[in-house]
């Protein structure tokens, strides 16, 4: 019997993969992201330089050469090696912050939509507060208070970016709540928690998922921004920190494009890939948007 069940799962997964493959946007996004993930995992192992290889004076700010494919920075370190270890930090930061944001947003959204009335009012005002406060200054203040560790940055991004998810999840919950199967479940004697987990969550999940992918893009931009502004973790070379150092060392004015361009491009590409996937997921999982 469990084999039948796992077959069902496999079939559904295959269907999903199939529609993913047919969707060019999703495909492009997935390919870009996969490349970055692979680079983040294996890159630092392959590249013969460590991020701690400080060079001599003559090695500093060197343009790309056969030895250093993307040149060196103001400390004489290999830009490519930095870029690859930066990918680790930036992606990790993006993923973890997204998970925090997703969990908070989902819980608040479902609770608010499902219970309604006073609970809805309180939770939504709270959400509105997070929705309208200028998040960049808030992040900066929080990051400054909590200190500049990578974990703090993840935490700060996570707790400032869930409000949108909560709003979307609440709206969807309101509509799922009115569906007849929810009433039917009440009539068989099910409690609220059961209904929220077994009936509401599965029906809002596609939306959460699509939304989450978009938040991952925001999280990575946020990390870059914070780091660039000097609120990043100085002990870890994320792309944002690279941009920060590049700016401080005057790479932009001295024409050392190999220093600031690669991390910038990487951020753009990763954000783009998340955005592409997000829109595509929305399309695949939201049958109403599906073109016939």
């Amino acid at each position: 019997m469990s084999s039948a069940k796992s077959m069902m799962r496999k079939r559904k997964l295959k269907e999903f993969a199939g529609s993913l493959r047919r969707n060019k946007m999703a495909m492009t996004g997935t390919i870009i992201l996969t490349i970055f993930i692979l680079v983040a995992i294996f890159g630092p192992i392959v590249v013969p330089f460590s991020t701690l290889d400080f060079g001599d004076a003559e090695d500093m700010m060197q343009p790309p050469s056969s030895e250093h494919l993307l040149g060196t920075d103001d400390m004489g370190r290999d830009v490519l090696a930095n870029l690859m270890s930066g990918a680790r930090i930036s992606l990790l930061c993006g993923f973890l912050a997204t998970i925090i944001s997703m969990v908070i947003g989902t819980i608040i959204g479902i609770a608010s939509g499902y219970f309604g009335k006073a609970i809805d009012n309180v939770l939504m005002r709270f959400t509105d507060f997070f929705l309208v406060i200028p998040w960049l200054p808030l992040m900066m203040v929080l990051a400054a208070i909590l200190g500049t560790s990578i974990w703090n940055i993840i935490f700060v991004i996570g707790i400032t970016s869930w409000a949108g998810t909560a709003r979307v999840v609440r709206a969807q919950t309101l509509s799922v709540k009115e569906r007849q199967f929810v009433e039917r479940t009440v009539s068989i004697g099910a409690g609220n928690i059961h209904i929220m987990i077994r009936h509401v969550l599965p029906n809002v999940f596609p939306l959460i998922f699509a939304n989450t992918v978009l938040i991952a893009a925001v999280a990575i931009t946020s990390e870059t921004t914070l780091s660039f502004l000097g609120l990043g973790d100085t002990t870890r070379a994320s792309w944002g920190m690279m941009l920060h150092y590049a700016f401080e060392s005057g790479a932009a004015s001295s024409g050392a494009w190999w220093y600031y361009l690669p991390p910038g491009l990487c951020v753009v590409l990763v954000v783009l890939s998340f955005a592409l996937m997000g829109y595509a997921f929305d399309e695949i999982m939201n049958p109403k948007l599906k073109e016939r």
Binding site: M1, A4, K5, M7, M8, R179, Q180, F181, E183, R184, T185, V186, S187, I188, G189, A190, G191, H194, R198, H199, P202, N203
Partner: protein, 328 residues
């Protein structure tokens, strides 16, 4: 204790419509819909009572009120002689196991993301009535097969969208019956299905009734169907019961003018009618309108002055046959 499984006295369900900002500004009062406005009836153990009426007559709301799915007021609302008190946890648990609902639309009443086995056994799971996975699957298989889905395990891991309308309704029934209820509210259970499939579902419901001594509150707009399957019929109009009695009597010698109008237009298969159908003039009033006197008086062909002033009481014209009309 009587043999009544459900006893309802003076049941009222009123909904307040939210007024828009503009209406508030205009100082208009909030509108109240009296979906059910003071009805009384009882259902005996093993009996089928049909509630017949058009949309907006309050028939579905009545069914939901008994199951505590909408807020209501009532002088008496008894289940097996006991007050239905869903605030009390232990009572609620027991009540939910013995009173169930079957919905009209099998496309809406099943969660599209759940598999059949989970849908069917969900009542057992939420009420903690099974101890092991094997037991759950076994009971699920039994329930499916009793509902005519054989072999049961073939349906376990299917999703609702993979089933036909009739099969879905059977899944709904299997799930409603798995806890062995003694009372079921069936809200238009076959109106969404093709004629050739209807019969199978109705037969199944009748078989289950015989096996388990079930009582049904059968909600329908189809008078001929109500006549066919039920012991008694109650005709509803705008939240009130107009006439109630033995199904044969209602159809052949209904006394209320509304009942007569309904039986007049009942299609009789195979018989060509003479001239146009005898229809009631006008339309059912807006449910938010406040109606003085008899709710039916605006369309009644035999109304008199008293009808628009005083609400007619329910009169027992012969044993078990109740009519609410001044002219009877």
């Amino acid at each position: 204790m009587s043999d009544n499984i459900v006893e309802v006295k003076d049941l009222r369900v009123h909904f307040t419509l939210k007024s828009s900002l503009a209406q508030d500004a205009a100082g208009r009062r909030k509108k109240t819909v009296k979906a059910v406005d003071g009805i009384s009836f009882e259902i005996k153990q093993g009996e089928i009572l049909s509630l017949v009426g058009e949309s907006g007559s309050g028939k579905t709301t009545t069914g939901k009120a008994i199951l505590g799915l909408v807020p209501f007021e009532a002088e008496k609302m008894l289940f097996r002689g006991e007050r239905i008190n869903l605030k009390e946890k232990e009572y609620k648990r027991k009540f939910r196991q013995s009173a169930q609902m079957i919905y009209q639309d099998p496309y809406q009443s099943l969660n599209p993301r759940n598999q059949v086995i989970d849908i069917v056994t969900e009542p057992l799971v939420v009420n903690k009535l099974v101890e092991s996975e094997e037991e759950r699957l076994e009971l699920g298989k039994e329930a499916l097969e009793r509902a005519g889905l054989t072999p049961g395990e073939d349906f376990f891991f299917r999703y609702p969208y993979e089933l036909s309308g009739g099969q879905r309704q059977r899944v709904v029934i299997a799930s409603s019956m798995i806890m062995g209820p003694s009372f079921v509210v069936a809200d238009e259970p076959v109106s969404m299905l093709d004629a050739s499939i209807r019969t199978g579902i109705l037969k199944l419901m009748m078989d289950l009734r015989r096996e388990n001594d079930l009582a049904y509150l059968f909600i329908t707009h189809d008078l001929s169907l109500a006549w066919l399957i039920s012991d008694r019929i109650a005709i509803m109009y705008l939240g009130k019961i107009m006439e109630m009695g033995d199904s044969e009597i209602i159809i052949s010698s209904g006394k209320h003018p509304y009942t007569k109008a309904l039986t007049d237009i009942m299609p009789k298969p195979g018989i060509k009618k003479e001239g146009p159908r005898k229809v009631l003039q006008g339309e059912t009033p807006d449910p938010t309108d406040v109606i003085e006197g008899c709710k039916f008086c605006s369309r009644c062909p035999i109304k008199e002055e008293i009808c628009s002033k005083e609400e007619p009481p329910m009169k027992e014209v012969e044993p078990g046959h109740f009519v609410a009309c001044h002219k009877v």
